[in-house]
């Protein structure tokens, strides 16, 4: 239940062992690199950028080859593939694959080249399609489009605006200079936008005829072909056919490469690892014969590193405590139960240097509140069993995923308990089924009480749980202040608030307002009443005088103190915020009842039973998912806003060790 203590480790060793030592550290994966910035004489940094870039390029080459493979030969993945985690590869297998890395990279290059070819062929075929498209209107022309005519005649091909008729063309020709009857106009095709003409006339008149037609919007076709359009179209079609065949062949080739997928993944990871290693190498200060590695390491792992490296290589290893001004990364260590909420804490921010790790305390409240908000034994059982099965079935899922699923399993268990306390089994399914199908009134009595029958009681309890949560938060603040030896701060910020709040609560409990909410009149003996008044007065006066102690000006000090007392409204709203425990719990139960009621509306009998089953499954699945989301969001909120607001700052840096940073496979170490 704590933040692991970090130490700085520095290793000075001979250059000839550099590769081996770096690889050893990388495979251990427990050291975060942080080189000491001092520039001492004789130490230089090596320029590894070009080597690193070449590795990164190779990694991305294998990556793009994999993408292409996925596009042409998709891998069969189950719905839960993301849960499976990285594949484990034996280290000798890994060595075998990396030994033929050149060959596999060639494959990757080939795949990428194939993809490029396909793209080129596709572009070519699209171009040909366009050409065919342009020829379509001319299809019924039975001479080549670039035909100039015969010995004496000239042929003019072109388009006129849509809906031009044969007569109007002849008339138009007459308006020109030629004014001849020796023309033959044929409309090849016409559509809405254009009329396609072939005009035959005497060579001598050609210029004048064209001039006359152009005045009416005649234009030559943008592209002409040297063959009869129909024939040309057929040729183009065969060309496209050939291209498509080629594309298919190349696709087949890519699909044939699918068997190299696993090897490509391994190779990609291999180059990623090497790129990472060279990145680190570039930061190391090196002299002619030696080099220095420095970084952060958890204290308990320091011995292992010392042993693994110190015993095998000639080197000097220094392990120092951290200096005052160093900001080490944060590593949490918790037991199997509490570590499951580490992901939630990380979402808010890890504890900064010297801060208390609230994971353990938070884990109990988290599971407690989550169960209270979902509060249905059947739903809890579904969640817990589903999570348990997933955990057992996919043991290799990523660590953070493992934690969150484990968290939901514990939350499911807590939900079962709350469901039994409040008698929620798919809402009131037992009652409804008994009444509708068997005509008997059965119901499972709640172990504690049914919230819908007595919401005020649960409201009081919700707020009481909230108050405990908040007091624990304030207590942790006090604990940290004592640890830092800030005794005055502890007294003023924590003890005085406790006195003040406890006094106020003790005054509230015997009052009429409380009695009307709780429907119970609680009478304290007069001594307690006096004590309550005394406590709240002491607390209030203390806060008034002490909260502004940082200010020298007495007036300002009192004003700051008064403002701090005003924070009591903040406490009030924090406590009221816990009423969501009641509201969300009721929401689950009532919507479940709505579902059951809707199902029972079809009545008894076979039809009723089938209808009931369908409505039951769909309705409860929806209710479960929406309330699961609600419970998750609002439990987080209670932790982040109300609880952490009392003491926690966060802002720690996560630990990023130098490790085998792979994407697809994990390499099994030889033991």
């Amino acid at each position: 239940m704590a933040v692991l203590q970090m130490q700085r480790i520095s290793i000075c060793a001979l250059k000839k062992d550099r590769k081996a030592i770096l690889e050893k550290i990388q495979s251990m994966g427990i050291m975060e690199m942080s080189q000491v910035a001092e520039d001492e004489d004789g130490f230089e940094k090596m320029d590894t950028i070009s080597a690193r870039q070449s590795f990164e390029k190779k990694a991305s080459l294998s990556e793009s080859a994999l993408d292409i493979l996925d596009a042409y030969a998709p891998e069969k993945k189950s719905m839960f593939a993301s849960l499976e985690g990285k594949k484990l590869v034996e280290s000798d297998q890994f060595a075998k694959i990396t030994a033929k890395k050149e060959e596999i990279l060639e494959k990757a290059e080939r795949i990428v080249a194939c993809n490029k070819e396909i793209a080129e062929h596709k572009a070519e075929s699209a171009k040909l399609e366009n050409q065919i498209e342009a020829l379509v209107p001319w299809l019924s022309l039975d001479v080549p489009m670039n035909c100039k005519g015969t010995g004496k005649t000239a042929m003019l091909l072109g388009t006129m605006p849509g809906e031009t008729t044969l007569e109007s063309v002849y008339e138009q020709i007459q308006t020109g200079e030629a004014q001849t009857d020796a023309v033959d106009v044929e409309i090849i095709n016409s559509d809405q936008d254009a009329t396609y003409l072939a005009v035959l006339c005497l060579k001598a008149d050609a210029g004048a005829v064209e001039e006359a037609l152009r005045a009416a919007g005649f234009a030559k076709p943008s592209q002409t072909v040297h063959a009869v359009p129909a024939k040309e179209t057929a040729e183009l079609k065969t060309k496209i056919e050939q291209l498509n065949k080629k594309i298919e062949e190349i696709e087949e080739e890519i699909k044939g490469c699918a068997k190299f997928r696993e090897e490509l993944k391994v190779i990609g990871d291999y180059y990623r690892m090497r790129a990472k290693k060279y990145e680190i190498l570039g930061t190391l200060p090196q002299s002619q014969r030696t080099f220095v590695i420095s970084g952060y390491i958890p204290k308990k792992a320091a011995g292992a590193v010392e042993k693994a490296i110190g015993e095998h290589y000639d080197c000097v290893i220094d392990i120092d405590e951290l200096k005052e001004d160093e900001e080490p990364p944060t590593v949490l260590q918790n037991n199997a139960f509490s570590s499951s909420v580490e992901g939630v804490l990380e979402a808010y921010g890890l504890p900064h240097k010297g801060e208390f790790d609230p994971t353990t305390i938070m884990s109990f409240f988290y599971v407690f509140f989550f169960g209270m908000m979902l509060s249905d034994a059947a739903y809890g059982a579904i969640v817990a069993i589903a999570c348990f099965v997933v955990l057992k079935k996919y043991p290799r899922m990523s660590a953070s995923m493992h934690k969150s699923i484990k968290l939901f399993m514990f939350c499911g268990l807590s939900t079962i308990v709350w469901g039994i306390l409040f008698s929620g089994y798919f809402g009131d399914a037992v009652d409804v089924i008994g009444r509708t199908f068997f005509g008997v009134e059965v119901s499972v009595p709640p172990l504690w009480f049914a919230p819908l029958n007595d919401p005020m009681k649960l409201l009081i309890y919700s707020m009481a749980f909230g108050l405990v949560h908040l007091f624990v938060g304030l207590g942790i603040k006090g604990y940290m202040q004592i640890k830092d030896k800030q005794y005055l701060d502890f007294f003023c910020d924590v003890v005085l608030w406790f006195i003040f709040l406890i006094g106020l609560i003790m005054m509230l409990i015997p009052s009429d307002i409380f009695a009307s909410i709780a429907q119970v009149k609680i009478v304290f003996p007069p001594v307690l009443n006096t004590l309550a008044k005394a406590l709240s007065i002491i607390g209030a006066v203390g806060l008034l005088l002490m909260s502004g102690r940082s200010s020298k000006n007495p007036v300002l000090r009192l004003a700051l103190g008064a403002y701090d007392i005003y924070n009591i409204t903040g406490w009030l709203s924090d406590v009221l915020s816990y009423s969501r425990l009641l509201a969300l719990g009721l929401a689950t139960g009532v919507i479940a009842s709505v579902v059951n009621q809707m199902g029972s509306m079809l009545g008894g009998g076979i039809v009723g039973a089938i209808g009931f089953a369908i409505i039951f499954v769909i309705g409860h699945a929806m209710n479960l998912s929406i309330n699961l989301l609600g419970a998750y969001v609002h439990t987080n909120r209670l932790q982040f806003v109300e609880f952490f607001g009392k003491f926690y700052e966060g802002g720690g840096r996560p630990f990023e060790p130098f490790e085998t940073d792979t994407k697809y496979v994990d390499i099994k170490e030889e033991r």
Partner: protein, 161 residues
């Protein structure tokens, strides 16, 4: 006996209806706004679908709260089990008033939460690892819907029929 003396049940049903349609409309607006932002993110990066879907669903709860109060009201006035209760106009109006908080707050907070969710979806688009924090901003808006739900439930259950 004038017609005004028989309207108790009508008022009560009006309350249930107001709770459902106001809060439902708020959720519809909110989920719609968030859904537009979510679709934008998914066009760029389909792998964020699950995360933005959760964000889009956050403003959907107001509608459920409205349904909840509506259902409690209906079962209270006996419209569900057959045999509607005899309500005086006064009781009917009391129930109507009790239903208003969740309806009105649901309408307004649903829309606001939708806008907030849309902004939080922007966080997911750029920094998917900040999911936990992004989710918290819309959840802040929801607090007030929960408070109004609480008052509506307490009020409806407290009214003697």
């Amino acid at each position: 006996m004038s017609i005004w003396d028989n309207l108790g049940l009508v008022y009560a049903l009006l309350g249930a209806a107001a709770a459902v349609f106001l809060a439902g409309a708020g959720s519809a607006l909110g989920v719609g706004i968030a859904g537009q932002a979510a679709s934008g993110v998914v066009t760029e990066d389909p792998s964020k679908f699950a995360k933005v879907l959760v964000m889009q669903l956050l403003p959907g709860t107001q509608g459920i709260y409205g349904l909840l109060v509506g259902f409690i009201t209906l079962s209270k006035i006996g419209l569900l089990g057959g045999g509607a209760a005899e309500l005086t106009p006064q009781t009917g109006l009391l129930i109507l008033a009790a239903c208003l908080p969740v309806g009105i707050v649901g309408l307004i907070s649903g829309k606001s939460q939708g806008q907030c969710s849309a902004a939080a979806i922007g966080i997911i688009a750029k920094k998917p690892d900040q999911f936990g924090k992004a989710m918290l901003f819309p959840a802040m808006v929801e607090t007030y819907a929960i408070l109004s739900l609480l008052i509506s439930i307490l009020a409806v259950t407290a009214i003697q029929v």
